[in-house]
């Protein structure tokens, strides 16, 4: 690195500009990884927190939480199968509603059986079950002013709910979740507009349907066994992580578009660094020939140049990463969909470094092609 370090000081202008490009790319890559993780959390935090391994939907090629409809035979069928540790029917309906001060609220009503593993722990207030219309609301709604004791009225069906507890942030399809006792959810979802006329009761059939089945399956239950049960019961079962996330509105599109921007950035980094070192190596051809004539080996020159690329890349990435982490602190406090997960940030930064080094390595490789005879210049 004897020459490389002095080159950095000698051609400061060029290396500063290139370093700045690396800093900006690293900055954007890091911010995007925060946005990516934040968007995912904002979309499906309610699912992520639920302690299940699989979700069973109504049979479909591309099942979704919104469209799925499963009946009692299906969920009771699943409950009796070997390898099933836990089974809970789960209702999922998106509602517009009015809060205590008549403010409009958009919420996803999830029907769960009180006390089941599908019911999250509250951070304030009481769990479900004490009253038939008591519900838990996601912290997101609490942040918007919904308080324990508030009455929420669902539009159209006019079902009245009372907030009894607040949970951690829980979203699905970017919409905050309100957890209701399953019968209340079934009445709201399958009941007539305007609610049941006075004096009439809901027909029993209302209580025979939910949206999906939340499952805790043992590892011994392999893909083929699950497919056999699906075939028998008319369900489509997806692994919770990733596969069932895709069934949430917008998830796949968001992950894909943010991922594509990230991949593009990393590709750009490889190409830009590669182009820079290609030009830099061509500019240094005379010098490289000279050092070779003086007895510098290809190995020496390659180490020198790769070290230089690594230094530029490492330094630039560290600065960009630092700046993005610093800015991220503020973004996370604002409640925007932004979150740093150490694994995703590390993966993005490592991918950037590797791509940049590959670009640099491909370019400095041409060092080996320089013929030292050019040091014996003819009248230049």
């Amino acid at each position: 690195m004897f020459i490389a370090l002095r080159d950095l000081a000698f051609a400061k202008g060029r290396f500063f500009l290139m370093g700045l490009v690396v800093v900006l790319i690293a900055f954007l890559t890091t911010l995007l990884s925060g946005l990516s993780a934040g968007l995912i959390k904002n979309n499906i935090s309610g699912l992520m927190e639920m302690p299940v391994t699989h979700i069973a939907f109504e049979a479909a090629d591309e099942p979704t939480y919104r469209a799925s409809l499963v009946d009692r035979a299906m969920w009771e069928g699943w409950a009796g199968k070997p390898g099933v540790k836990g089974m809970e029917p789960l209702g999922h309906t998106v509602f517009n509603a009015r809060g205590a001060r008549n403010e409009p609220l958009e919420l996803t009503l999830w029907g769960v059986r009180p006390g089941a593993f599908t019911e999250p722990r509250v951070t304030a207030g009481a769990q479900l079950g004490a009253t038939p219309d008591g519900v838990l609301v996601s912290r997101i709604l609490a942040d918007k002013g919904v308080k324990i004791g508030d009455r929420i009225v669902l539009d159209r069906v006019l079902t009245e709910l009372t907030v009894v507890g607040i949970t951690e942030e829980a979203n699905i399809g970017h919409i905050p979740i309100v957890y209701a006792p399953l019968p209340k959810w079934q009445e709201a979802t399958y009941g007539p507009p305007g609610g049941m006329p006075p004096g009439e009761v809901f027909p029993d059939v209302v209580y025979d349907y939910v949206s999906v089945i939340a499952l805790q399956l043992e590892d011994s239950l392999d893909k083929a066994a699950i497919a056999a049960i699906d075939e028998e019961l008319g369900t489509t079962t997806l692994v919770k992580v990733d596969k069932s996330y895709i069934a949430s509105t917008g998830y796949l599109e968001e992950v894909r578009s943010v991922g594509m921007i990230q991949y593009s950035l990393i590709l750009i980094a490889a190409v830009v660094i590669g182009a820079f070192f290609a030009i830099w190596t061509i500019q240094r051809t005379q010098e490289i020939g000279l050092v070779k004539a003086l007895g510098g080996s290809n190995g020496y020159l390659l180490r020198d140049s790769l070290g230089q690329a690594l230094l530029l890349l490492g330094g630039g990435t560290a600065l960009g990463l630092g700046a993005a982490l610093w800015l991220g602190q503020f973004l996370m406090k604002t409640g925007r969909p932004f979150m740093y997960v150490p694994e995703t940030v590390t993966a993005a930064v490592v991918a950037l470094l590797v791509a940049g080094l590959i670009g640099g390595a491909l370019s400095v490789r041409r060092i080996t092609a320089v013929d030292p005879i050019i040091a014996l210049g003819r009248d230049r």
């Binding site: 020459i3 000698f10 010098e287 050092v291 007895g295 080996s297 020496y300």
Partner: protein, 224 residues
């Protein structure tokens, strides 16, 4: 004897374009002897330098530097020979643009895979003093005149205590007065360090400093 070349033939190009750049050249240079090779451009002077310096492998013939026969060596061994046994002084000096004068010399230590120590630095400074550059050791090539660059180039060539010094048109970029000073310096250093020196030049005014002069025409050597 530090350079011994026998019956060197170097054929360049293919087919119709084929040229015998060296056509049976034999040359010997003793330790401490400055041999000048003169001749018009295109006569094969540079080819002789390239072959003796291990930068071109001759089509036939043998070359010995010190007690090492380099004729049959591969590229990486030749790189090692250039590094350890040969000093080069190039036309227009050919310094690394980002290094200061003293760093040009210390680079030679790095190329041998060592970190320069106190002794190396002292030696580099002593060599720069010998060539009259002690006041500009921390200047980069861009801040030096053509003559000053050539002086640094000469000091660099002696840094590794070479067995053979190869000098390529050292005065081509200098005016007559500076050119004379440089060749005078080269001759003095060559005698002082007892290094066999082969200098290629087209400038007959520089021959007074040579111990012996040979003439090259169409790839053949004749005693001048």
């Amino acid at each position: 004897m530090s350079l011994l070349a026998r019956d060197l033939v170097l054929v360049l190009g293919d087919g119709e374009q084929q040229v015998r750049a060296l056509d049976g050249v034999s040359v010997e240079v003793q330790d401490g002897e400055l041999l000048a090779v003169v001749g018009p451009s295109g006569s094969g002077k540079s080819s002789l330098l390239a072959v003796c310096g291990g930068l071109r492998t001759p089509t036939s013939g043998r070359i010995r530097i010190g007690d090492t026969d380099i004729t049959a060596l591969g590229q990486s061994l030749l790189t090692g020979i250039r590094r350890d046994r040969i000093g080069f002084v190039f036309q227009q000096s050919n310094l690394v643009p980002s290094l200061t004068a003293v760093e040009q010399l210390l680079l030679m230590v790095h190329l041998r895979g060592r970190r320069p120590g106190r002794a190396d630095r002292d030696r580099a400074l002593a060599l720069l003093r010998e060539v009259g550059m002690e006041h500009r050791v921390d200047r980069r090539p861009g801040e030096l005149s053509g003559g000053e660059r050539q002086r640094v180039g000469i000091a660099r060539a002696f840094m590794t205590e070479p067995a053979l010094l190869l000098v390529d048109e050292p005065t081509s970029m200098l005016d007559h007065g500076r050119g004379r000073q440089i060749v005078e310096l080269l001759a003095r250093e060559c005698h002082e360090h007892k290094v066999a020196t082969l200098m290629v030049t087209h400038d007959p005014g520089m021959l007074a400093y040579a111990d012996r002069v040979v003439r090259m025409t169409d790839g053949r050597l004749t005693e001048a």
